[in-house]
Symmetry: C2
Subunit: 419 residues, 2 copies
């Protein structure tokens, strides 16, 4: 922002100029809600309701088993993968939408360790990651390491500055989440991948908070494997199947333990020995949840009306505006910005600490401003340019200001499950 | 059947006496279709359409992130597991509906091998199963064996008679599918589990073609682990999440490599070290596909209007009638019964071979009788007592007879994907 935006009218003026403003009508958001939690669960595309009805009533109810062919159920993981690919700099035939992020990470890590188990890197036994990574990524790496035929270990670093030193002669894989779920910090994917390769390690990226949020170019970064989520910024629906990227350079040797029949070269030959299919299909395992999977398409369609450069431009305007307004309008309150001010290091969310962060967030939600909370003290606000307006930002900050100015939050409120 | 049923009127009379006849109205089946493929994809419960609309429009669209708590999304795998439990002789807190059958089998097998890796069985390295098992079960066992810290192997037996000899001093686990997907042969779960235990092995059962199809009593059989499918006889919807059973006796030591955050003792504490939750929750891994998962409940609700003894009684009447009518009405045609005549050894499907099985099945489907085909030569007909009538059986056999009598099938038809 070159000049500070100081009034709601300024925000409305920004909305009037916003080339993405029209896309808000492609979503169905409840009245009276400012939804700043698309980093956790994306809003519902309007098309999703009719699509769910069609999959359930016609494809399942009427066409029954024929839909595996006629409705393209069996090919859906790859078809959706091809639609998602441009958002992360992947090529056709390199992405599948399937299973969960945790499971896809397990496959990618296993494949990376297998690739490293030959040649000069055969002795390497360490997966390097951050202590602040989303826990399930660490848990899956632990689970894999603990069970593999040779003893692997997970090494946790406490800051990005420690990564170069951790990439020692024992480092087999650098596994990072591109944008941190708590802080919104965005790694330099190309530079860290370069460091990993220079050190003889492979780079595995989790794009859970990146896909649909920030521009990603996996090929330009020369990354090795990636996984990600469709139910956050891609608006695929609650718990919608995740994605996995296996670049062509690694497909022929992509090998993982979850060798189910959907990854077989001839799944309906019912052969008793596993033979992986060529291409991204070998990342598949079992039968996919078709209704949830089909809804992913409704989210992806909306991105085809724009591009990630436009999304990113608005995202930075929204997050700059939010930071600026919170710091000016709520000055004097004990709020601490956690998210980087530097654009290149920022995802599409803004996190502030507050000593009573949980209670303040509960008060915000009660007044229709939906963000969420992460221990310790962190209030998270996600900004999704497809459906969030500049006026939304203004209004959210005014409500936050009012809550803080009047101490209108209950510090004794019981803590429920916050997702 | 004590006396042969010889006319359609006899079948209508059976329908009039059928205590389950009223349940057919709980399903929405297309007009003009006799659906005998519920062993592959169960028909759609009427309630599923409204439920899908409610999950998508209200729970996702309106309540958004709050639904993880208010709509019980986070607890759904266990809540549905408790509803499913009585159908397989499981107790509350022992079943979770989650992931895919393939993945759940991977967890169960891994846990079984881990249990066996201590004490007198520590040297055992073999998973015994049947060559005729559903391939993904064999593939997952292969994948696990190939990757584990010590060298395991999968031993395939060619008949049930070979199982006792295969349960040698190297046998760690006996992994069987209770009802065979091609033949409809039903194993004696209690007897084979007893043999496994006597030989020092654990017994892991796949109930994909059993749950909702035949009475199962996992505790009476003293089984060790089980997995199964919700989208066949349980009518949960295409690719709906599968289930896993971990009995209380094994829960404290249930340990598998797919240690994702949904299996953590405190998933929202975001601790960097994995600590499994007590109970069946440790069989969970990543975030589940909520829309598909929610529809499983619509199928389970229907079973609560009856019980598996009533379902089984009608299933045997239906399959007896089908076998009897095919053998009498289509006598002279080269049909071979593959499914056991003995009730105790029969699931809820009937398979017949025919030299042109694929073409005959295609002709049946074209005339509204939907079964399916499995190599080599096998026509499968599934009987789902909740929505299949005795008149359906009569009509299906008359159409089969007409096709065969008139040679009204195209042996040169291209073979598409048959699921």
């Amino acid at each position: 922002m070159t000049a500070p935006t100081t009034t709601r009218a300024d925000c409305l003026a920004l909305d009037a100029l916003d080339p993405l403003a029209g896309l808000r009508t492609r979503f169905d958001l409840p009245d009276g809600v400012i939804y700043l939690d698309g980093n956790s669960l994306g809003a519902r595309p309007r098309a999703a309701l009719a699509r769910a009805g069609d999959v359930v009533a016609r494809e399942w109810g009427t066409d029954l088993i024929k839909s595996w062919n006629t409705a393209g159920w069996f090919d859906m993981p790859k078809r959706l993968g091809d639609r998602l690919a441009p958002l992360v700099g992947a090529r056709p035939g390199e992405v599948a939408v399937t299973d969960t992020t945790s499971l896809n990470l397990f496959k990618a890590l296993a494949a990376a360790l297998r690739l490293q188990s030959e040649g000069a890197t055969a002795g390497r036994r360490t997966i390097v990651t951050e202590r602040s990574n989303f826990p399930t990524d660490i848990y899956m790496a632990e689970g894999l390491s603990r069970w593999l035929e040779r003893g692997y270990r997970v090494r946790l670093v406490d800051s990005v500055e420690e990564i170069p030193a951790a990439l020692d002669l024992d480092a087999a894989v650098l596994m990072l989440t591109h944008v941190n779920y708590r802080t919104g910090y965005q790694h330099d994917m190309a530079e860290l991948t370069r460091l990993a390769h220079e050190a003889g390690a492979l780079a595995v990226w989790d794009l859970a908070h990146s896909a649909g949020a920030v521009p990603v170019d996996l090929h330009a970064a020369d990354a090795d494997f990636a996984v990600g989520c469709t139910y956050k910024y891609l608006n695929g629906g609650p718990g919608a199947p995740a994605f996995i990227w296996v670049p062509q350079k690694h497909q022929a040797r992509f090998d993982h333990p979850l060798s189910g029949w959907w990854g077989h070269a001839s799944p309906f030959a019912m052969a008793p020995a596993f033979a992986p299919v060529a291409g991204i299909g070998r990342a598949l395992c079992g039968t996919q949840p078709i209704v949830s999977l089909a809804l992913v398409e409704c989210g992806l369609e909306i991105f085809e009306a724009t591009d990630m450069e436009a999304v990113r431009a608005k995202s930075l305007l929204l997050t700059d505006l939010f930071i600026d307004l919170v710091e000016r309008r709520c000055a004097g309150h004990p709020l601490g910005l956690v998210t980087p001010r530097e654009h290149a290091r920022r995802g599409s969310q803004v996190s502030f600490t507050h000593p009573h962060g949980y209670a303040v967030m509960a008060a915000l939600i009660a007044r229709g401003v939906i963000g969420d909370y992460r221990e310790p003290e962190i209030m998270r606000f996600g900004f999704t340019p497809l459906y969030t307006s500049f006026a939304d930002v203004w209004d959210a900050v005014e409500i936050l200001k009012d809550i803080l100015d009047r101490n209108d939050y209950d510090v004794s409120a019981a803590r429920g499950l916050v997702t």
